[in-house]
């Protein structure tokens, strides 16, 4: 453990003391969070990641919502939202929607599993530094909770003139949203490197 902590938000140097039993510490000058008390284990993180992976697959395999109007019905999946934009020649917007709802969560889960499963067996994943950096870069682009409220806004608009049937995927997306936020908060960058360094001892 390094004897000094540098605040990422204002560059003030602090002495590294053990964080309190609950909560965490923040910078004495700018109040940015500095340390968090980490209670989770590698096993919890792997379990959450596997759970998120299953939910992500479910969300893409089944329809999100089905719309019934005048005897015809039409449904869409999670990927369907991006494909709809692609079909209307908004390629870059389709790519953005695909990135933030499917690719970023998938990459995040895959990168975590790639780094953490070997850590659990006290081994080292080849290229773990590069995979870790991909994880850190891709994480802010997971917009699952925003997507869920977007779905809600769309359904409210449609419910005026069509009958809406919710699909399996809507519920798995909702669970995925909670699962991903639990996963992000239990695998901070410091925490991941703490696990990796401990597994080398």
């Amino acid at each position: 453990m390094s004897p000094l902590i540098v605040c990422p938000a204002c560059d003030l140097v602090h002495r590294n003391a053990a964080p309190p039993a609950r909560g965490g510490t923040c910078c004495a000058r700018c109040r940015a969070p500095l340390q968090r008390t980490e209670g989770s284990s590698v096993d919890t993180a792997i379990a959450l990641a596997v759970c998120a992976l299953v939910l992500l697959l479910l969300s893409n395999a089944y329809p999100l919502v089905e719309m019934q109007v005048n005897g015809t019905s039409r449904d869409t999946t999670l990927i369907g939202a991006a494909l709809g934009l692609y079909a209307q020649h908004f390629h870059s917007l389709a790519a953005l929607v695909l990135l933030t709802t499917v690719v970023a969560p998938l990459l995040q889960i895959a990168a975590l599993l790639y780094v953490l499963i070997p850590v659990r067996r006290r081994r080292r994943a080849p290229g773990q530094e590069a995979v870790f950096r991909i994880l850190v870069q891709v994480r802010p682009w997971t917009f699952m909770e925003v997507f869920m409220l977007g779905v809600l806004a769309a359904l409210v608009r449609l419910s005026n003139f069509a009958h809406i049937v919710t699909g399996v995927s809507l519920w798995s997306c909702l669970l995925l949203m909670f699962c991903l936020s639990a996963l992000s908060s239990s695998t901070s960058p410091e925490q991941i490197w703490h696990w990796i360094e401990r597994s080398r001892e």
């Binding site: 902590i5 000058r29 934009l85 929607v97 950096r133 850190v136 917009f143 925003v146 409210v156 608009r157």
Partner: protein, 206 residues
């Protein structure tokens, strides 16, 4: 306050990816010994890059609000909706909580983000020592609310995917939605390229 010890004064570099502290000049090519990310004392060209991104976002904010985000075609009429008219439709259909949500996420949040980043950039260019704690808090708020403006883009893309009933009604995505997505991406990059430590680099004058 005097003699505040900063990472810069001790020659310590902080890796922004893995939060390792590294003594400057100890590693070749300034790469983090732990995760191999590039190390910089401050993010390179932070102010000029962020300013450019914020100007682009401010320009695109206009078409995002003026151009239609979607076009609802039925055999009787052809209706163009901007973000604001979409909010009004929601309001008239009686679901004011959703209308409020879309209004805040799509109109208030991007505007607030652009204005807040402009204020932060202006004070960082001027190296102003005043209200640093408040400005630091403002930056964290900008980082936190950034993604919410995507809400309506998702709603529109779902509507476009669902409402394609043959010869009955269809929803065509408009260029306003594209401009909207661009504003979200540009402001997210702007928040990432802005180095908040610049707000604290000048000594407080008391």
């Amino acid at each position: 306050m005097s003699a505040l010890i900063t990472g810069r004064s001790l020659g310590l570099l902080l890796c922004l990816e893995c939060r390792a502290t590294v003594r400057a000049g100890t590693t070749a090519h300034s790469r983090c010994p732990r995760c191999h990310a590039r190390l910089h004392e401050r993010k390179p060209h932070s102010l000029i890059v962020t300013t450019a991104l914020v100007i682009c976002a401010a320009i695109l904010y206009v078409p995002a609000n003026v151009l239609p985000v979607m076009d609802t075609r039925t055999f009787i009429d052809d209706e163009y909706d901007t973000i604001m008219s979409g909010v009004l439709v929601l309001l008239h259909s009686g679901s004011w909580p959703i209308a409020l949500l879309v209004f805040v996420a799509s109109i208030v949040v991007p505007l607030l983000k652009i204005l807040a980043l402009a204020v932060l950039l202006y004070s960082a260019w001027r190296r102003s020592p005043r209200h640093r704690l408040e400005r630091s808090g403002l930056f964290r708020l900008v980082e936190f609310i950034g993604r919410w403006s995507m809400l309506d883009v998702y709603a529109i893309s779902l509507l476009a995917a669902l409402v394609q009933v043959q010869s009955f009604a269809s929803i065509i995505v408009g260029w306003g939605a594209w401009a909207f997505g661009a504003v979200v991406v540009l402001t997210m990059f702007a928040a990432r390229t802005f180095d908040e430590r610049l707000l604290w680099d000048t000594p407080p004058n008391d």
